[in-house]
Structures are given as structure tokens and as C-alpha cells.
């Protein structure tokens, strides 16, 4: 692992990371903890494993765990309030939790559509609203990082390109991630004068549970491998730290050059 930059010291900062029990979210929580931030782990699944890893590797760092459904606004608000009650403030929010139905347009169901849009887009809205008002606004500072996807910019890989009746990203997933990018920019404009920054990271294919057993050819991208969760997490650290204090409303693609430009 690379040495740390002093400009990314997050000692005394409080971060909330959604979908952080595994995958990209867990890597984000770990990378933020490595810079001494306190981290609240939010997930549908138990957070014991990643919390244990963080506390073992960084004994000075405190963590919290919230086993909640981010599609439920009451649960989101309670988790945010409990985090603020524990540590007094909230400085960083990483909206990472996501689901991906891969059904074709023809096979897509209302249930799958609602699950992806509600988790990926509405959940990000719930958390963003709950951390800005009142916490980030009152302290005049905050860093919000939304994890979108290059499929939200390029449309993703559709079912006709894959074998069978499902693609690598379904219509609801691509639409939700495009929505996250637009939401990011809207929020950046709205809350900039409170000293709050809002940016998105658009990963390409990353080795996680979400992509397990899926075929992602990488031969045509400049960096010919799938991404690792740590690749995304390091970009999150940059956008969470004072090093990026003139960057807002941007979507940074971390995709090995798959989506170039």
C-alpha cells in the first residue's frame, strides 16, 4: 500500500458510508479509517466483519454499524441522528449502496425497477438531505461523494450484447446512476454556498459481489484489468479530503479508461 499524503489527513472527521459491509463501500470505509476518520457503516447486512478489520488495523479509529434499509427514510434519519449524537458532527457522506437488476427491457418488472431506483437514487437523496440539514449546513462544511457508474453516462451494456435475456446492467440501474450524476450536480449548486461539496465517482467494472460470475472483457480498455474496490476508495479519499477543496459538481470516472473523455 502507498504512503499517506498529509493533505488527506482526516483525523477528527466523521464519515458515513452506505453499503459498506463489503465491496466498494467496505474499501471506502477502510480507506477513510486509514486516514483516521471515524466511520459509520450502513448496510442491510451485518457490519461486523469490516468493523472488526478497521478496529484491528487502526485501534485509534472508532466505528458504528447500522443495519438498515436505506429505502426507508425514518431508518436513514435515525442512523444519521445516532451518528451525530455519538460524534457530534458529520463531515463526509459516501452514498455507495447499490443494487443492479440485469433484466432486459422486455423482462423488467416494476419490483426490480423500484428496487434499483429506490436503493441507488432515493436512498442517496434521503442520506444527503439528512446530513446537510442540519449537520453540514450548521458547521459550514461537508463532503458528499456519490458512487454512480459509467453506465449512468454511457447507458451500460444491454441484453442484446450478452447471451440470454439479461445484460450487464439493466435499464433501471443505468437510469438510477444517470440520476445520481444529475442529483450530484444539482446538490453541488444548491449547497455550495454552505461550504458543502458534492461530487460523484463513476466506476467501471469492479471486482465485487455485484459483478461475481459476470463476464467483463477488459481487452479494449487502456488499463486491461477490472477495477479493485481500493481503486475507487482512493478516489473517494481525494474527494473527501481538503485536497479537493475547489472540486464540486463533478463526476470522476474511475474505470481504467473504459469510458474515456
Amino acid at each position: 500500500m502507498w504512503p499517506l499524503s498529509s493533505h488527506e489527513d482526516l483525523k477528527g472527521k466523521v464519515a458515513i458510508v452506505t453499503g459498506a459491509s463489503r465491496g466498494i463501500g467496505a474499501a471506502c470505509a477502510y480507506a477513510l479509517a486509514r486516514r483516521d476518520a471515524s466511520v459509520a457503516i450502513v448496510d442491510l447486512l451485518p457490519a461486523d466483519e469490516i468493523r472488526g478489520k478497521i478496529e484491528a488495523d487502526f485501534p485509534e479509529v472508532q466505528t458504528l454499524g447500522f443495519e438498515i434499509d436505506i429505502r426507508n427514510q425514518d431508518q436513514v434519519v435515525q442512523a444519521v441522528q445516532a451518528t451525530a449524537a455519538q460524534w457530534g458532527h458529520i463531515d463526509i457522506l459516501v452514498n455507495n449502496a447499490g443494487t443492479c437488476s440485469r433484466l432486459s427491457l422486455e423482462a423488467m418488472t416494476e419490483e426490480d425497477w423500484d428496487r434499483d431506483i429506490s436503493t441507488n437514487l432515493k436512498g442517496s437523496f434521503f442520506f444527503t438531505q439528512a446530513v446537510v440539514f442540519p449537520y453540514m449546513k450548521e458547521q459550514g462544511y461537508g463532503k458528499i461523494i456519490n458512487i454512480s457508474s459509467i453506465s449512468g453516462m454511457m447507458g451500460g451494456v444491454v441484453s442484446s450484447v450478452q447471451d440470454g435475456d439479461s445484460g450487464r446492467s439493466g435499464p433501471a440501474y443505468a437510469a438510477s446512476k444517470g440520476g445520481v450524476n444529475a442529483f450530484t450536480k444539482w446538490v453541488a449548486k444548491e449547497v455550495g454556498n454552505y461550504g458543502i461539496y458534492c461530487n460523484a465517482i463513476a466506476p467501471g467494472s469492479v471486482v465485487t459481489e455485484l459483478t461475481r460470475n459476470m463476464n467483463y472483457p477488459v481487452d479494449n480498455q487502456p488499463i486491461q484489468r477490472m477495477g479493485e474496490p481500493e481503486d475507487i476508495a482512493e478516489a473517494v479519499v481525494y474527494l473527501a479530503s481538503p485536497a479537493s477543496n475547489y472540486v464540486s459538481g463533478q463526476v470522476l470516472k474511475v474505470c481504467g479508461g473504459l469510458a474515456i473523455g
Binding site: W2, P3, L4, S5, S6, H7, K185, A188, K189, G192, N193, Y197, Q221, P222, I223, Q224, G227, E228, D231, I232, E234, A235, V237, Y238, A243, S244, N245, Y246, V247, S248, G249, Q250, L252, K253, V254, C255, G256, G257, I260, G261
Partner: protein
């Protein structure tokens, strides 16, 4: 500690403005610096301010002179990071632009970035690693009706970034761009003076009219761009290539 420490970093246009800011940040991060500029006196001054660098060397060079660039780079050792920062801008109305205006802006902002990348890229391919960061501008994706050669040159820098990322990918060399917004530098002062000359009024008011509202409520400082450069140049950005990042306080979101 910083993950740019010990790396050899070449910065063009390093004497002043954003380039100087990148040089100072590279020094704080403990890089070995090669600072390039035409202005020898100003370059020496910047070099003296570069505290914390593992080493600081200066190269007084007109980077639009392709033969000179090739000859100078060939005799240098390895270079890990190249920052193509040197750039000029001229505010001039459409019908006033002369051939030499066009050629000069395109030569410094675009042609020099290409041929320097060609010369340094050869080393990076031999080293099987390297990172190039081009300083473009939000003008690359936004109209500049009073600075058309500049806008064209910066769009060209983004095209160069994308194509070089695709070309260099298999050799382990990454290429990205940073697009600064309205920066608190001499260039912005000059924009104010030239716009005041065109439209009347004070340079200060001309700058305010030109910039308009910025979501983060301030002009950019060279250090803001420098931090983005260090991030993209470092291993932290090891999966990022062919990208451009606006460092503009939310001034532009496309």
C-alpha cells in the same frame, strides 16, 4: 509522507501562476523536480521557493522549439510524471485575430504538449510506468467567443489526453487532464485588462462580469489545481486514465 515522494516530476510553465503552484506542491510532497520555463529569472525564483523537494533542477527552454525539446529531454534521466502546464491566453475579438495570434497560442498550449509528451513518453515506455497530467481548462468544453484560439487549443489538449491514454495504456502510462476554472493568477488579471480595453470599465469589474457566480464562492488558487495534479499523478489514481477533472468550484459541470 506522500506517495509522490522521490518521483521525478517535470512541470512546464513552472515559473509562475498555476505551474508555480504545482511546483511548490510537488516540492512539499518530496518529489525530484524538473522545472521548465522560458523566463529564466522567474524560474530561478520559483526553484528557490521549492522547499521539501528531494532535488530541484531548472531547464530554461522554449517548448515550442521541437528540436530543442527533443535534444534536451534525450539527455535527461528517467521522468515519472510530466505536467504539461505551460499555456497562454489572449482576449481578442473574432475579426482581430491574426495568423500569428492563432499560431502562437496553438504552439504553446497544444503543439508543445504533444511533442514534449512524445519525448518524455519514450522514456516512460522504457520505464514501463509513468503519468502525464495535462492542464487544460474549462474552456475546453465551454465557448470562449473572445478567446477562440485558446478554447480550440484546450479542446485539443483534451483530445490529446484521450488519445494518449488509449495509446499509452498497454505500457503502464496513464494520461489525464485537469481543467481549472477561474484562477486567481496573472492570467485572470490580463483577461480583466483586455476585456476592459474591449468593453470599457475597470479591469476589476470586467473580471467580475466575466466570471459570474461560482457555487463555491471564490476564485481558484494554484494549490487547488496542484492537489488535483498530485492525486492524478500518484498511484492513488492508478485506475484513472483518459479522464479530465474540472477544478473550478462548480463553475462548470459539463
Amino acid at each position: 509522507m506522500d506517495n509522490i515522494a522521490g518521483k521525478t516530476m517535470m512541470i512546464t510553465g513552472a515559473a509562475r501562476g498555476v505551474g508555480r503552484g504545482i511546483a511548490l506542491a510537488g516540492a512539499r510532497a518530496g518529489a525530484k523536480l524538473w522545472l521548465v520555463d522560458r523566463d529564466e529569472a522567474a524560474l530561478k525564483e520559483t526553484a528557490e521557493e521549492c522547499r521539501g523537494a528531494e532535488s530541484v533542477e531548472t531547464l530554461t527552454l522554449d517548448i515550442t522549439d521541437v528540436e530543442a525539446v527533443r535534444a534536451q529531454i534525450a539527455v535527461l534521466g528517467p521522468i515519472d510524471v510530466l505536467v504539461n502546464n505551460a499555456g497562454i491566453m489572449q482576449t481578442k475579438s473574432f475579426f482581430e485575430i491574426e495568423e500569428e495570434d492563432w499560431d502562437r497560442v496553438l504552439a504553446v498550449n497544444l503543439k508543445a504538449a504533444f511533442f514534449l509528451s512524445q519525448a518524455v513518453g519514450k522514456k516512460m515506455i522504457e520505464q514501463k510506468q509513468g503519468s502525464i497530467v495535462n492542464i487544460a481548462s474549462v474552456a475546453a468544453r465551454w465557448p470562449r467567443p473572445l478567446a477562440m484560439p485558446y478554447g480550440v487549443s484546450k479542446s485539443g489538449v483534451l483530445s490529446l489526453t484521450r488519445s494518449m491514454a488509449a495509446f499509452f495504456g498497454e505500457y503502464g502510462v496513464r494520461v489525464n487532464a485537469v481543467c481549472p476554472g477561474a484562477m486567481d493568477t496573472e492570467m485572470l488579471q490580463r483577461i480583466g485588462q483586455e476585456r476592459a480595453h474591449l468593453f470599457g470599465g475597470s479591469p476589476e469589474q470586467a473580471i467580475l462580469d466575466y466570471v459570474g457566480p461560482i457555487p463555491m464562492g471564490r476564485l481558484g488558487q494554484p494549490t487547488d489545481v496542484a492537489e488535483a495534479v498530485l492525486f492524478l499523478a500518484s498511484d492513488q489514481a492508478r485506475y484513472i486514465t483518459g479522464q479530465s477533472l474540472n477544478v473550478c468550484g462548480g463553475w462548470q459541470m459539463v
